[in-house]
């Protein structure tokens, strides 16, 4: 039995290969990923927006073509290996010494060229379709500015400045409300990638790029920075919050308000303004107009801190302010050397910034 297995190992290996390839094709389809949770899973083959949907359709075509090529060529290879194996006792002669064949060479040059031709046609059409899309009048316009290691998000027409969470309305049924996003960088190159919504586009300093999304289903869409940008590249996470139109309008209205001036944390407010927090952070309607760090006006409306490095809870906030390096080593926010009491006060104040 073992000897037979050994003799046919090339065939077995090829069969294993085919099985694996088959599993790959199955996985690539709309089948649920077996491993990991299903929420938070960002498969490019389960898009919920244009242009990711269009990309998926093109990708499936390309996968099918490549899969077919693989089956044919690998199949021929397996056949050749099995059929033309050297058999024991067959030492006598060398096989026919064939040097080549012009006809065969022509055939297997023309056929790939034809395949390439087809691929070029579909590719260029999709490129043009996605890149040349014009913004309709109803589109939302946002500007995302990459920083080491957080996202500054502005809505110039709406007068909103926030950080790390991009809120957009859904596009459904009659009215199309895509969001057109300008991408800039304040320091090094970054890349904006939310797989369920669109392909990635880079944020390059001294250059402005444009991308668009048109999500159809509300939810929170996760993404990552996809261009290595330094120490905390891994923790520069994106959250795109897609909301139904009325919820989005409410969010806009809330964000447009200046900071709530709560009375319960006057001490914290004082501490905040006495320390150099104001040099880096903006809280609209107050004297804090720093540009270097994220806008904190509506800090409590966000679900995470430090671009997804920690959840937005009082404990995390306390930890962050006491020593940012404990959550995100390499972070450019300095340790302000506050006492525990001061930290508690500042946290209490920040909690009022809803």
């Amino acid at each position: 039995m073992r000897l037979r297995l050994y003799r046919h190992r090339k065939m077995l290996r090829a069969l294993l290969f085919f099985a694996f390839a088959l599993i790959c094709v199955v996985f690539a389809g709309p089948v649920e990923p077996v491993f990991g949770n299903t929420d938070g899973v960002t498969s490019i083959f389960r898009p919920l927006s244009q242009p990711a949907q269009e990309i998926k359709e093109l990708s499936l075509l390309v996968l099918a073509i490549c899969g077919a090529i693989f089956v044919v060529v690998a199949g021929l290879l397996v056949y050749a290996i099995v059929r033309f194996r050297h058999r024991a006792g067959d030492e006598a002669s060398e096989p026919p010494q064939v040097y080549g064949s012009n006809q065969i060479e022509l055939a297997w040059t023309v056929l790939p060229l034809l395949i390439v031709f087809v691929l070029i046609l579909v590719t260029s059409r999709t490129i043009a379709d996605i890149q040349n899309r014009q913004a309709p009048p109803s589109a939302v316009h946002a500007t995302v500015i990459g920083h080491q290691w957080w996202w500054e998000i502005r809505y110039p027409e709406l007068g909103i400045v926030t950080a790390n969470e991009l809120h957009v309305p859904t596009t459904d049924g009659g009215e199309s409300r895509p969001t057109f996003i300008k991408l800039q960088s304040a320091d090094v190159a970054h890349s904006f990638w939310v797989p369920l919504l669109a392909g990635k586009t880079d944020l390059v300093p001294n250059r402005e790029n444009l991308m668009w999304i048109a999500p159809t289903r509300p939810g929170i869409y996760l993404g990552n920075c996809a261009e290595y940008c330094g120490t905390q590249h891994a923790r520069m996470l994106i959250r795109v919050v897609v909301q139904p139109p009325d919820e989005f309008q409410q969010w806009v209205r809330d964000q447009q308000q200046s900071a709530a001036i709560g009375t319960s944390s006057a001490e914290g407010r004082k501490t905040f303004f006495a320390t150099s927090c104001v040099n880096c952070h903006t809280i609209s309607g107050t004297a804090a107009q720093g540009q270097f760090g994220p806008d904190l006006t509506h800090l409590m409306s966000r679900t995470t801190l430090a671009a997804g490095a920690a959840p937005n809870t009082p404990e995390s906030l306390r930890k962050w302010i006491r020593d940012p390096q404990s959550i995100k080593v390499g972070s450019l926010m300095p340790n302000m050397q506050l006492t525990d009491a001061e930290v508690d006060q500042v946290v209490a104040y920040l909690q009022t910034l809803k």
């Binding site: 050749a80 050297h86 040097y99 080549g100 590719t123 586009t201």
Partner: protein, 564 residues
């Protein structure tokens, strides 16, 4: 037998002291010794950079792991990539070329032996400088100054403002040095191939290995300057206040990317074509037939070299080029796949109708064929720009290029190793250990890199030191990390095989594989002068002509059976 004795006395004179041997090592200008030194040094760095990869995989095995700190991780993947390309890939090519080309063209040594030695020592100097960075100035947080900017060091992350300390400087300077070594070695191989061929060896009678080395080294001559130029510009930015890539003063970060990839893309073909070269020698011998379509293979290789200089911006599809630019590079990238595919078909045509001997070199070649086919196809997928918009800078790309470089190039190099080690050392490698090497490594390779395709498809970006739970990446990464261990053990088997066979391997003799090119016409190892008298050839397979005087190749080649 006389040549055997001469070989013994020349290389292993009894009573040679350690000092004498070290002196010979430092002062040698013999292409064989330098070739082995190149390969030996490259293998050392393969192990070092490979261990770094194992460390990376261990860090990524579970989410939110704290095995490696972020800065350490970032240095590891930078050094792993830089070392694998410049301190493993390039010197192995130089070593293979230097060792085999003079033997295959029937000459005594390279055209410029002293230049050869100079190139090797420049490479060593550069390599040591790169790793010295770990010990150099404390840098930030006292972690040493190893480069942490990624192997392609995008601007402006590498500028003075964002890369304080000397990590980027070590990256630049060590690579400038190794580039001098590579360029010098390339000039040497081109000159040797064009000017020292033995009588009768017209260009279209050279072994395909020599053809492909010629094309590779010509590409090195043309491609490397782009990297060196960009690095000089970066040095000027960092030390003389220049603004080449200083975006605050109007400089362009994208310009760095263009210059880097104008080098970088031809570079990956420079890395793989020597793999093709090994394959084109080994497959015919173990199929017992000549290579199918020799002139087409030459033409296809030349076409690949030519077109590869026009595809670089497929690494920049996400940077925001116009739709015209994106389409152009998609087209050129798909076109470069056509001659590559033709070569796969020609190897297939060589195997077809042959009498396949499943010795170790051939087993690795077969692994190459399957794996390179997949790698090429994922490359075609990535050439489709919108698909690349999703998958660029993700683990899908990492899977693709490791498939090419490990599943392709490394397998071809392993094949070449098992094939030519007997020639260089005089002893065969052990078949059983070789099979262990093959199977362990193959299992590990597939565990690691097949799964990476999926993590890429599930949105996992590159170069992240950790990831959160709930993205669907956990199991895939764990499997990938297990695979790394298998690969390491596989390589260990190879190392044991090499060391054991040096003393106890079966004696190889001149021509253990019944092959047809000139290197098999002399002893194993060859004497310092290679051939007793200058060979004269009349066909592409001079030893076939000798072994089959009733049916020599030159009858068919001269009859013009579609060949000349």
């Amino acid at each position: 037998m006389a040549s055997q004795e001469i070989a013994l006395t020349a290389n292993t004179a009894p009573g040679t002291s350690l000092v004498d041997r070290l002196h010979r090592l430092v002062a040698t200008v013999d292409h064989k010794e330098l070739g082995l030194m190149y390969i030996g040094t490259a293998l050392i760095f393969l192990v070092v950079a490979g261990l770094m990869a194992v460390a990376i995989r261990l860090q990524l095995a579970i989410p939110n792991n704290t095995l490696l700190e972020p800065e350490v991780f970032n240095r590891f993947f930078t050094m792993h990539g830089t070392a694998m390309v410049f301190l493993v890939g390039m010197p192995i090519i130089a070593g293979l070329g230097n060792y085999l080309v003079p033997l295959m063209i029937g000459t005594r040594d390279m055209a410029f032996p002293r230049l050869n030695a100079f190139g090797y020592w420049m490479f060593v100097f550069g390599a040591l400088l790169l790793y010295f960075s770990y010990l150099g100035a404390p840098g930030l947080n006292g972690h040493g100054s190893a480069p942490d900017v990624g192997w392609f060091a995008y601007a402006p992350l590498t500028g003075r403002a964002f890369s304080r300390g000397h990590s980027t400087d070590y990256w630049i300077l060590s690579l400038l040095l190794t580039s001098v070594g590579s360029t010098v070695s390339a000039i040497n191989v081109v000159a040797t191939t064009l000017t020292l061929r033995c009588r009768g060896m017209k260009l279209m009678r050279m072994p395909l290995f020599v053809w492909m080395m010629l094309v590779t080294n010509f590409m090195i001559i043309l491609a490397l300057p782009s990297l060196s130029a960009a690095q000089i510009m970066l040095l000027i930015d960092r030390y003389l206040g220049g603004h080449f890539f200083d975006t605050q003063s109007g400089g362009s970060a994208v310009l760095w990317q263009h210059f880097f990839w104008i080098f970088g893309h031809p570079e990956v073909y420079i890395l793989i074509i020597p793999g093709f070269a090994c394959l084109s020698e080994i497959i015919p011998v173990f199929s017992r037939k000549p290579i199918f379509g020799y002139p087409v293979m030459v033409g296809a290789t030349t076409m690949i070299a030519f077109i590869s200089f026009g595809v670089w911006a497929h690494h920049m599809f996400t940077v925001g080029m116009t739709s015209v630019g994106n389409t152009f590079f998609a087209v050129s990238t798909m076109l470069v796949g056509v001659p590559t595919g033709i070569k796969i078909f020609n190897w297939l045509g060589t195997i077809y109708g042959g009498k396949i001997r499943l010795d170790l070199p051939m087993i690795f070649c077969l692994g190459f064929l399957f794996q390179f086919l997949i790698a090429g196809l994922t490359g075609v997928m990535l050439a489709v720009t919108p698909f690349d918009w999703q998958l660029s800078d993700s683990y899908f790309v990492v899977a693709h290029f490791h498939y090419v470089l490990i599943g392709g190039l490394l397998y071809a190099l392993f094949a070449g190793f098992y094939y030519w080690y007997p020639k260089a050392v005089g002893r065969l490698l052990n078949r059983k250990l070789g099979l262990w090497h093959f199977w362990l490594f193959t299992i590990g390779f597939h565990l690691t890199f097949d799964t990476m395709h999926f993590s890429g498809l599930l949105g996992m970006p590159r170069r992240i030191f950790t990831y959160d739970v709930g993205r669907g990446w956990e199991m895939l990464n764990l499997i990938g990390s297990v695979g790394a261990i298998f690969q390491a053990v596989g390589v260990l088997c190879l190392a044991i095989n090499i060391l054991r066979s040096l003393r106890h391997g079966k004696v190889a003799g001149n021509d253990p594989w019944d092959a047809w090119t000139l290197e098999w016409a002399t002893t194993s190892p060859p004497p310092i002068y290679n051939f007793e008298s200058a060979p004269v050839v009349r066909s592409r397979r001079p030893l076939w002509d000798l072994k089959h005087p009733e049916d020599p190749d030159w009858k068919y080649e001269e009859a013009g059976s579609g060949e000349n």
